[in-house]
């Protein structure tokens, strides 16, 4: 009785039906892997924005009291939106800038095709040249550039200056001095009336 053997490695030691057993064990292992991976997905996907967050897609802003030279900051999807009522001077300065001088040649305007060039026309509001609506988040590492308040340092180009790493933006929100790689993004928005903007 002491001599009978129970194989330690039944897979390799068994010669009766190695194929069937191997197939079963591989199928069982496969099921375990598939089931485990499927169970893992909800644990990861739960971290994505939830339904209530996704639904907060639009913000309506009253801009009637924003005079030329002033700016307004509102929240949209947890991010600041810069709304600037530009002076004629600022518009002219932005228009005079040759596109070749720009670090980022693209408009980055969610309301235009992706390859639209970064001309002032493509940056400003459609048919409402004085208005500039942008996501106020530096494209370098996410700080909020200075330039919204009247007394802020606005950088060499009179637009915005990021205090974190010194990026500078012009009066059309285009990056002119790095390290930021892109122009300030322009969110989807539309004018509901002369006094009201809907963002998102």
């Amino acid at each position: 009785m002491a001599t009978h053997d129970i194989p330690l490695e039944p897979l390799s030691a068994d010669n009766d039906e190695p194929t069937r057993r191997d197939v079963l064990l591989i199928a069982a292992g496969g099921c375990a892997i598939v089931g485990g991976a499927a169970a893992l997905w909800p644990l990861l996907d739960q971290m994505n924005p939830d339904a209530s967050t996704l639904s907060l897609a639009t913000t309506e802003v009253d801009i009637s009291h924003v005079e030329p030279g002033q700016a307004l900051t509102v929240m949209w999807r947890g991010k600041p939106i810069f709304i600037r009522h530009r002076t004629d001077q600022e518009i002219a300065k932005a228009k005079d800038t040759p596109l070749d001088d720009l670090i980022d040649p693209l408009a980055r305007n969610a309301n235009l095709p992706e390859n639209a060039p970064a001309s002032d026309d493509n940056r400003a509001a459609k048919d409402r040249e004085p208005w500039l609506v942008m996501v106020g988040v530096c494209t370098h590492l996410g700080c909020i550039p200075k330039g919204q308040a009247v007394g802020d340092y606005k950088g060499e180009y009179g637009g915005w200056f990021c205090p974190c790493h010194g990026s500078q933006y012009d009066t059309a929100g285009r990056v002119r001095i790095g390290p930021a790689p892109e122009n300030l993004a322009i969110p989807p928005y539309s004018f509901l009336s002369d006094e009201k903007i809907k963002i998102g």
């Binding site: 068994d14 069982a28 499927a38 339904a51 907060l56």
Partner: protein
């Protein structure tokens, strides 16, 4: 498996059978034994497991009943208008949801002047509550607080069946039963005295889809609507559940065969399995003593 294992297993099943239902009066519809709640009749619903779904048209009618009748007193503070358009619910079209929301004025603010202001609701807004706070609600309802209806279908034993029974349970009080001042007799309500006046009467809500505008239909539709409100992911749960169950049954079958294949050598390769033969050695056999 030997006999003692079977007995142990039977005991486990018994334990489940005994403790399960007593701790889960909600699903069985059996009322708790102490507050002498009336028996709640079971209705047939479209959403019973395992393959049920909500009836979109019914939920839309139910929402109409809620909006035009219940919402005058009852809040549903956990729901948003967007929920009305989400899959597995009433599934109003996106435009319809926007319109439904915009018909309601909600308070927002403060604005730049520091004032709260009214604006039409957006789909992302929560359902507007009829009263600003509990005290106002009590004041307007003779001291009684109309409960929030967001999860009411899960918060009452009997669920949708109970809500239906309650809404259709108003009757003249039986002989010798005198409800207190301002209370109403209701056959389904525990204690039979409810502060809520009969909310439904034939024709009070105008249905546009040809459903007969009678109390029974209103009650059924709004009960289904409240069930959805309490359990908006029910359809998703059943659908995913079916897939998971099929997967697990296949997995279980494979595991069973794999287990048999692995153990075949131990079971068949050792007729003289040590412990089995040994059992015959003692004077008494286990079975013989039974």
């Amino acid at each position: 498996m030997n006999s003692s294992s079977l007995v142990l297993m039977a005991a486990g099943a018994l334990l489940l059978a005994l403790t399960g239902p007593s701790a889960a009066e909600d699903d069985s519809g059996t009322p708790p034994n102490n507050n002498h709640a009336p028996e709640i009749a079971r209705q047939s619903w479209s959403f019973t497991p395992p393959f049920g779904t909500y009836d979109n048209a019914q939920l839309q009618r139910g929402f109409q009943v809620y909006k035009e009748v219940c919402a005058n007193c009852h809040s549903m503070r956990l729901l948003s208008y967007r929920n009305l358009g989400e899959p597995g619910g009433p599934e109003f079209a996106p435009k319809a949801v926007e319109v439904l929301a915009s018909q309601v004025q909600v308070t927002d603010g403060p604005n730049e002047k520091g004032e709260m202001f009214q604006r039409p609701a957006r789909p992302s807004d929560r359902f507007r509550s009829p009263f600003a706070n509990e005290q106002l609600a009590r004041l307007a309802n003779n001291g009684a607080l109309p409960p929030d209806l967001s999860v009411i279908a899960k918060a009452r034993p009997g669920g949708a069946d109970y809500i239906y029974a309650l809404l259709t349970g108003y009757r003249p009080a039986p002989q010798g039963f005198a409800p207190a001042e301002g209370m109403h007799y209701n056959a389904a309500f525990p204690g039979h005295q409810i502060a809520m006046a009969p909310p439904l009467s034939d024709g009070v809500v105008v249905y546009t889809d040809g459903t007969k505008p009678i109390v029974g239909n209103y009650a059924r539709d709004v009960s289904a609507f409240l069930m959805w409100a309490a359990e908006p992911k029910l359809e998703e749960r059943y659908t995913l559940g079916a897939r998971v169950m099929i997967f697990l049954i296949v997995f279980l079958a494979i595991m069973y065969l794999a287990k048999r294949a692995v153990w075949a050598r131990v079971h068949h390769g050792n007729e003289a399995l040590h412990l089995e033969t040994a059992r015959a050695v003692p004077a008494q056999d286990e079975k013989a003593t039974r």
